[in-house]
Amino acid sequence: MTAAADTSTQTAETRASWALTLPALMLFVGVLVIPLLMTVMLSFHDWGQYKGIEPVFILKNWQEIASDPYYAEMFWRTFRIALLATLITAVLGAPEAYILNRMSGRWKGIFLLLILGPLLISVVARTLGWALLFGGNNGLVNKLLMSLGLIRAPLPFMFTETGMVVALAHVMMPFMVLSVWAALQRVDPQIENAAMSLGAGAFTIIRRIILPQIMPGVLSGAIIVFSLSASAFATPAIIGGRRLKVAATLAYDEFLNTLNWPLGAAVAVLLLLALVLIVVGSNALIERRYAEVFR
């Protein structure tokens, strides 16, 4: 084959591959990139109670977010809740996955289904379940505890950060369990026997042998849970309501209640930027930390 023909086949191949990816690329640009860019632009527009949205370029919304401590407090609350929910899922989910992995065939199947089951139910339904259990004087658990005389007043759950953290941790648990589970699948089943034959006790085996190997799974699960929790809408909306706002519910309210679309857009864009930074940053850290061991 001559060099010229070679080049022409190559260009033809390149063209073909572009043509083949074009439909997916157009969809990606059309439904994700363009709306995202429009949202970014929207965050620089002006808005007034009577004049509505004015397509001008000003920094008003961003200045408001930066100067008003209300927003700082709200973002701080968002990430605090996400971080606590992530910690709870990690502390409970990692042992859960480990125990699940050690179960024998039939039980493993049943319990895996139990853990994944909640994913089949709407987040709204699951969160409302918490509200039914702990919602004020009429919550089932509250009623029971009060009738037993264990508590005087209903446990504060609704409209509290604790409530939000607990409900979010519950909703996000399957993601953590699945992520750790996937990491456990890569662990050599004989490795615990190997450590035991060298004289290690049960606790040492978990701390020195198992935990370091499933840590990448815990961390990637943490990234998933954190980003989903920080951008969660349904759970904070139901548990926190209007009183305790997080970034997602605030953006929603600006869009649909106040109708201040530009401010809502600025909040949403800031949340997105912060999440991307956190996720990309921690992912890079994890990859560097474990590159040598787990390719």
Partner: protein, 347 residues
């Protein structure tokens, strides 16, 4: 008293008996192989010695004390796993040091012993490598060093060479034997590879369906297989039906046109079991026709159709002319090269 003693050991999973009445006495410094096809119970037996499984019956004693009462972490046995089971998040040196750390060996002493162990398996300079970045053979050596550095009373090897390619396996066999001879650790090897078992062990325990078929030196098990299973499993073998002709004086053992004086005590019909390399082409003997002739470098392999059924003959390639395909030949062998079994027991 033997060093390691297994006395009527059995293992049952539900209603299924995996190991049955396993008794063996291992002397100090001996190299023993458990040989058998997969599912014969050899790995189960090894795991019972290691303590990962509890025997359903019988006793395991090390230097007279009951081993089954000792927690696996306290047995002090060195184990090399089929998958090596190295700790992927630790370097080669850290892997080897782990057992010493568990024994609270001081840091200086530890470093010295780890270095010596790695040098022994030929991995000097690989201390800081992670297992992922080592070849299968190197990982195997790390696993061996890790098992040996704790100076185990018994070294247990669970199909350690089965994941290596043929050439490397042969090298590792020689090396394993040398290391074992040098340090004199009592060793038990589980394998399904008869060549591996024969080239490495002092004694072979041939197992089938959870039972011991034969315990003996490699020569004994090869030359004098105790059962049809052993003769079939350890290399190729020919079985000929033969009977005793009492009309002749003295009585003769007859297989087709081949005959020899009947050995004492042999009556009626028997099965002659014969290794292919012990058969020679001669002027008289069992009539046969060569079906195929295969050249295999250092030897020729003949597949023959004889009066008593198909047979395999192996002749050394010593330069002498060999019969060709389709040629009629006579097969002969020395009486002492065959082993006899009562008929009906043939596989």
């Amino acid at each position: 008293m033997a060093f390691l003693e297994l006395d009527g050991v059995g293992k049952q999973f539900g209603s299924q008996t995996v190991v049955d009445d396993f008794s063996l006495a291992v002397e100090r410094g001996e190299f023993i192989s458990f040989l058998g096809p997969s599912g014969c119970g050899k790995t189960t037996t090894l795991q019972m010695i290691a303590g990962f499984l509890e025997p359903s019956r019988g006793a395991i004693r090390l230097e007279g004390r009951d081993l089954t009462k000792v927690h696996p972490a306290k047995r002090g046995l060195g184990i090399v796993f089929q998958s090596y089971a190295l700790f992927p998040h630790m370097t080669a040196a850290e892997n080897v040091a782990f057992g010493l750390e568990m024994r609270n060996v001081k840091r200086n002493e530890r470093a010295k012993r780890v270095g010596a162990a790695l040098a022994m398996v030929g991995l000097k300079g690989f201390e800081e490598r992670y297992p992922r970045r080592m070849s299968g053979g190197q990982q195997q050596r790390v696993a061996l060093a890790r098992a040996l550095v704790i100076q185990p009373s018994v070294l247990l090897l669970d199909e350690p060479l089965s994941n290596l390619d043929a050439k490397l396996r042969e090298e590792m066999q020689i090396e394993l034997r040398q290391i074992q001879r040098t340090i004199g650790t009592t060793t038990i090897l589980v394998t399904h590879d008869q060549n591996e078992a024969m080239s490495l062990s002092d004694r072979i325990v041939v197992m089938s369906q959870g039972r011991i078929e034969q315990i003996g030196t490699p020569q004994q098990t090869y030359e004098r297989p105790a059962s049809a299973f052993v003769s079939q499993f350890l290399g190729k073998t020919n079985d000929f039906a033969a009977n005793v002709d009492r009309t002749a004086q003295p009585a003769r053992l007859v297989a087709g046109s081949w005959h020899a004086p009947a050995p004492v005590g042999v009556t009626d019909t028997v099965t002659i079991s014969l290794r292919p390399e012990r058969i020679s082409f001669a002027d008289s003997g069992l009539a046969a026709k060569i079906v195929t002739r295969i050249f295999q470098g250092n030897h020729w392999l003949f597949q023959c159709e004889t009066e008593c059924g198909p047979a395999i003959v192996i002749r050394q390639n010593d330069g002498s002319p060999q019969p060709g395909e389709g040629e009629a030949v006579r097969l002969d062998w020395r009486v002492e090269d065959m082993s006899l079994r009562a008929s009906g027991g043939a596989a």
